[in-house]
C-alpha cells in the first residue's frame, strides 16, 4: 500500500503560526478601520444636514412589533428594560401581559399587539419593555426588539391613513417617510380603558 506521505513539518509550522498569532494582540487592519470611520462620519453628516434644514425636532425611540417598526417620543419614556422574571396576573384583561420588578418598583406591562391585532410571537430573552410615563400613569409596553433612537422633524410625521380602524386607531400619531408608525404616548397614557379599575375598588 503506497500512500502519499503526510507533510508533518508543514502542518506543525501552520499550527505554530496560529499559536503565535493568538498570543499577539488582535489588531484590525488599517483599511478596515478607515472604512469604519468613514461610514460613521457619513452617517453623522446626514443627520446634521437634516437638523440644519428643519427647526422643530422630536426624539423618537424606535422598536419593532411583529414585522413593523413603531416609534414613541422619548420624553414619555422613563427607560428601556429587558423583559425578565415577569409575573402573569390572573383576573386581568388579555392585553395585560403581567407585572415586572424594575429595581424594586412594580410596573405592569401591556401587549400592544392585542390592540393592533398583530400576529403573536413567542416571548423570549430578547423581548424588551419600554416603560412610559406622564404625571398620572406609568406602565410598560412590550417590544420585540429595540432599534434605537432617532431625531425626527415634526413635519415629517404625517397623519395616519384613513383606513386605520379598531381599538388602537386612536393611539396613532402618524407615519413617517420611512414607514415608522409613531404612537401617541399621551393618548395611550390617558386612555381610561387601559386602567384596570378593579384594584381601586
Amino acid at each position: 500500500m503506497q500512500k502519499t506521505t503526510i507533510d508533518w513539518d508543514g502542518i506543525k509550522n501552520r499550527v505554530n503560526m496560529m499559536q503565535d498569532s493568538l498570543n499577539q494582540k488582535i489588531v484590525l487592519p488599517q483599511e478596515e478601520k478607515h472604512s469604519m470611520f468613514k461610514a460613521r462620519a457619513q452617517a453623522l453628516a446626514v443627520e446634521t444636514k437634516d437638523k440644519t434644514a428643519q427647526n422643530e425636532f422630536v426624539e423618537i425611540v424606535l422598536f419593532g412589533l411583529a414585522s413593523e417598526t413603531y416609534g414613541v417620543e422619548s420624553t414619555f419614556i422613563r427607560e428601556v428594560y429587558p423583559l425578565k422574571d415577569y409575573t402573569i396576573l390572573p383576573g386581568t384583561p388579555s392585553f395585560v401581559l403581567g407585572i415586572v420588578n424594575v429595581r424594586g418598583q412594580i410596573i405592569s406591562v401591556i401587549d400592544l399587539k392585542k390592540f393592533f391585532n398583530l400576529p403573536e410571537k413567542g416571548l423570549g430573552e430578547l423581548n424588551k419593555v419600554i416603560i412610559i410615563r406622564n404625571e398620572r400613569m406609568e406602565f410598560g409596553i412590550l417590544a420585540d426588539i429595540i432599534h434605537g433612537t432617532r431625531s425626527l422633524a415634526i413635519e415629517e410625521i404625517q397623519t395616519p391613513p384613513v383606513s386605520t380602524v379598531g381599538i388602537g386607531a386612536g393611539y396613532l400619531k402618524g407615519v413617517t417617510n420611512e414607514h415608522y408608525i409613531i404612537l401617541d404616548a399621551q393618548k395611550i397614557l390617558d386612555d381610561e380603558s387601559i386602567i384596570v379599575n378593579q384594584e381601586l375598588v
Partner: protein, 582 residues
C-alpha cells in the same frame, strides 16, 4: 321300571329309603296301638274289677266282725262293755255304708247295681233286727236275743254273705274274662307286627336288589371297561341303554370317549404307517390329546417336507460338489502358472519400494527447510501485531485530544454567548442613554452622540460574535470529521491486527504440517525398507504356495471320490423319504 331307571340316583335312593321308612312307621304305629289298648284294659282291671272284689271282701269282714261283736255283747253282763261294743258296731256300720257308696260309684253295670241294691236292703233289714237284738241284750233278755240271733238274724246274715260272695265272684270272673280278652288282643297285635315286619323286610330286600341291578351292576361293568381302557385295550363294544340318569349319562360319555379314543388310535396307526395325509378334528378346544395329535401331525408333515427338501438339496449339492471338485482339480494347474507370474511381479515391486525410500528421504529434507522458514515468518508476524497495537494506542490518544478540542470549542461558545448578552445590554444601555440625553435637552446633545457611538460598538461586537460562532461551527464539524476518521483508522488497525493474527495462525498450521510432513517422510523411508524385506518374504512364501498347490491337486482327487460317495448317499436318502406320503 323304565320310569324308575330314568330317575336320578339321588331321587332313587330317597324314594327307596322313604318307602322303607314308611313301612317302619306303620309297624311302629301298630305296636303302639296294641300296647296302648292292653295297658288301658289292665288299668281298668286293676281300678274296677279287683277293687270291687276287695271292697266286698272288706264288707264281709266288717259284717263278720259285727256279728262277733253281738255275740260278745250277749256273753257280757257288764253294761259299760256292752255300750263300748255298741259303739264299735255303729262305727263298723258306718264303714259298711262307705263301702257300699264306693261300690255304687265303681261299677255301672245294671245287673251289678241291682245286686248292690238288694245287698243294701238286706243290710238295712239286718241292721233293724240288730238294733232290736241290742235292745233285748240291754234289757237283759239274753235268751230272746240269742233266739233272734240264731234264727232270723242268722238267715239274713247268710243271705248278705251269699249275695256279697256272689258279687265278688262275678267281679273276679269278669276280671278273668277281661284278662283273657287282653291276652287275645296282645296275640293278634304280635301277629300283625310280625306280619308287617316280614313285609318290610321283603320290601327292603327287593329295593336293595333293584338298586343293585340299576346302579351297582352297570357301575361295576363300567369300572371293568375303564380298567381295560387303562391297559390300552380299545376293542370294546358298549351297548348303550336308553337311560337318562347318571348311570346312563356315564355310559354315553364312556361310549363317546371310546369312540374318540378309537378315532385317535386309527389316526395314530395311519401316521405310524407313514401316511401323513388327512387331518384330525379335535373334540373341543380343551381336547389336549386331539390338539396335540393335530399339532404332532402338522409338525411331522412340516418336518417331513423340510427333510424332503433337505434331501433334494443334498442330492443336488452333492452333484454340484462333484462338478466343483472337478473344476478345482483343473483350476489348481492354472494356479501353478499364476504363482510363477506373481513371483516375478514381487521382484518388480521390491525395486519400486527401494526407489520410493530414496524419494521419501529427499522429501524429509525439504520439509525441514520449510519448518525453519515458517519459524522466521512467525516472528515477523508477531512484531507486526505489536506494532499495530502501538498504533491503536496512539489513535486512542489522538481521539482523546480531538474530544478535548471539541469540549474547549464548546467553552468558547459559552464565552461568545456571554459576549452577545453583554452586547445586547450595551445596546439597551445606549438607548437609555439617548433617552436621558433627550431629556436633558440642549446640554445632553453631546451625550446623545456618545450614546450613538456606544450603540454602534455594541452592534459591531454582536456581529463579531456572530462571525466567531460561525467559525466555531466549522471547527466543530471538522472535529467531528476528525473523530470519524480516527475511528475509521482505529478500525482498520484492528482489522490489521486480526488479519496478522490469522496470518500467524496460518503460519503456525503450516509449521505444524511441515513437521508432520517430516515425520511422514521418515515413516515412509522406514516402511519402504520394511517393504523390501517383506517382498523377499513374499518370494519365499510363493515357493511354499507352489508346493502346497501340488499337494492340493493330490487331495482334490480324494475329494472327488468323497463327492461321488456323497452323491450316492443323496440318492439313497431320496428313495427313503419318498416312502412317506405328505
Amino acid at each position: 321300571m323304565r320310569y324308575f331307571n330314568n330317575l336320578s340316583t339321588r331321587t332313587k335312593l330317597l324314594f327307596s329309603f322313604g318307602l322303607i321308612w314308611l313301612l317302619f312307621l306303620v309297624v311302629i304305629i301298630i305296636a303302639y296301638q296294641g300296647l296302648q289298648s292292653i295297658t288301658q284294659s289292665e288299668k281298668k282291671l286293676h281300678d274296677v274289677n279287683f277293687q270291687i272284689a276287695l271292697e266286698l271282701r272288706e264288707l264281709r269282714s266288717h259284717q263278720n266282725f259285727n256279728r262277733a261283736a253281738i255275740l260278745d255283747m250277749m256273753l257280757t253282763r257288764e253294761k259299760s262293755e256292752q255300750l263300748a261294743l255298741e259303739k264299735i258296731i255303729n262305727e263298723r256300720g258306718q264303714a259298711i255304708n262307705d263301702i257300699v257308696e264306693k261300690l255304687s260309684k265303681l261299677a255301672m253295670d245294671p245287673l251289678f247295681q241291682n245286686q248292690l241294691k238288694e245287698l243294701e236292703n238286706e243290710i238295712g233289714v239286718y241292721r233293724q233286727t240288730r238294733k232290736d237284738e241290742i235292745l233285748l241284750i240291754q234289757n237283759g233278755k239274753i235268751d230272746d236275743a240269742q233266739r233272734l240271733g240264731t234264727t232270723l238274724q242268722k238267715d239274713r246274715f247268710e243271705k248278705i254273705r251269699s249275695v256279697s260272695t256272689e258279687m265278688g265272684n262275678r267281679a273276679s270272673k269278669e276280671a278273668y274274662n277281661q284278662l283273657a280278652l287282653d291276652m287275645q288282643h296282645a296275640n293278634s297285635a304280635i301277629i300283625l307286627f310280625i306280619l308287617f315286619g316280614i313285609v318290610t323286610l321283603i320290601f327292603s330286600i327287593a329295593i336293595i336288589m333293584l338298586l343293585n341291578r340299576t346302579i351297582a351292576q352297570p357301575l361295576n361293568e363300567i369300572t371293568k371297561i375303564a380298567a381295560r381302557i387303562g391297559e390300552g385295550d380299545l376293542d370294546i363294544e358298549l351297548q348303550v341303554v336308553e337311560r337318562n340318569d347318571e348311570v346312563g349319562i356315564l355310559l354315553q360319555s364312556f361310549s363317546s370317549m371310546i369312540k374318540a379314543l378309537k378315532r385317535m388310535a386309527a389316526s395314530a396307526q395311519k401316521i405310524a404307517a407313514g401316511d401323513l395325509t388327512g387331518s384330525i378334528v379335535p373334540q373341543s378346544e380343551k381336547d389336549i390329546l386331539g390338539n396335540a395329535f393335530l399339532q404332532m401331525l402338522n409338525n411331522l408333515r412340516r418336518i417331513m417336507k423340510d427333510i424332503m427338501e433337505g434331501v433334494n438339496l443334498l442330492g443336488s449339492s452333492a452333484s454340484e460338489i462333484l462338478a466343483s471338485t472337478t473344476q478345482v482339480a483343473s483350476g489348481s494347474a492354472e494356479t501353478a502358472t499364476a504363482i510363477s507370474e506373481t513371483t516375478s511381479t514381487v521382484e518388480e515391486v521390491r525395486q519400486a519400494a527401494q526407489l520410493s525410500s530414496q524419494k521419501a528421504s529427499r522429501v524429509s529434507e525439504n520439509a525441514q527447510q520449510v519448518a525453519q522458514i515458517t519459524q522466521t515468518s512467525q516472528q515477523a508476524v508477531e512484531e507486526t501485531i505489536s506494532g499495530m497495537k502501538e498504533i491503536q494506542n496512539q489513535m486512542e490518544a489522538v481521539a482523546n485530544t480531538i474530544v478535548r478540542l471539541s469540549e474547549q470549542s464548546q467553552q468558547i461558545g459559552g464565552i461568545i454567548a456571554l459576549v452577545t448578552d453583554v452586547a445586547d445590554q450595551s445596546n439597551l444601555l445606549a438607548v437609555n442613554a439617548a433617552i436621558e440625553a433627550a431629556k436633558a435637552g440642549e446640554q445632553g446633545k453631546g451625550f446623545a452622540v456618545v450614546a450613538q457611538e456606544i450603540k454602534g460598538l455594541a452592534q459591531q461586537s454582536k456581529q463579531a460574535t456572530m462571525q466567531v460562532r460561525n467559525i466555531l461551527n466549522d471547527v466543530q464539524k471538522a472535529t467531528s470529521a476528525a473523530v470519524m476518521a480516527t475511528e475509521q483508522t482505529s478500525k482498520s488497525v484492528e482489522n490489521g491486527v486480526k488479519q496478522s493474527t490469522q496470518v500467524g495462525v496460518s503460519i503456525q498450521k503450516m509449521a505444524d504440517s511441515s513437521s508432520k510432513a517430516v515425520d511422514a517422510a521418515t515413516q515412509i523411508v522406514a516402511s519402504s525398507q520394511q517393504q523390501v524385506v517383506g517382498m523377499d518374504q513374499i518370494g519365499i512364501a510363493m515357493n511354499n504356495i507352489n508346493q502346497a498347490g501340488m499337494e492340493n491337486a493330490a487331495s482334490m482327487v480324494q475329494a472327488e471320490k468323497a463327492a461321488n460317495g456323497l452323491n450316492e448317499l443323496g440318492h439313497k436318502l431320496k428313495l427313503l423319504v419318498e416312502q412317506y406320503k405328505v
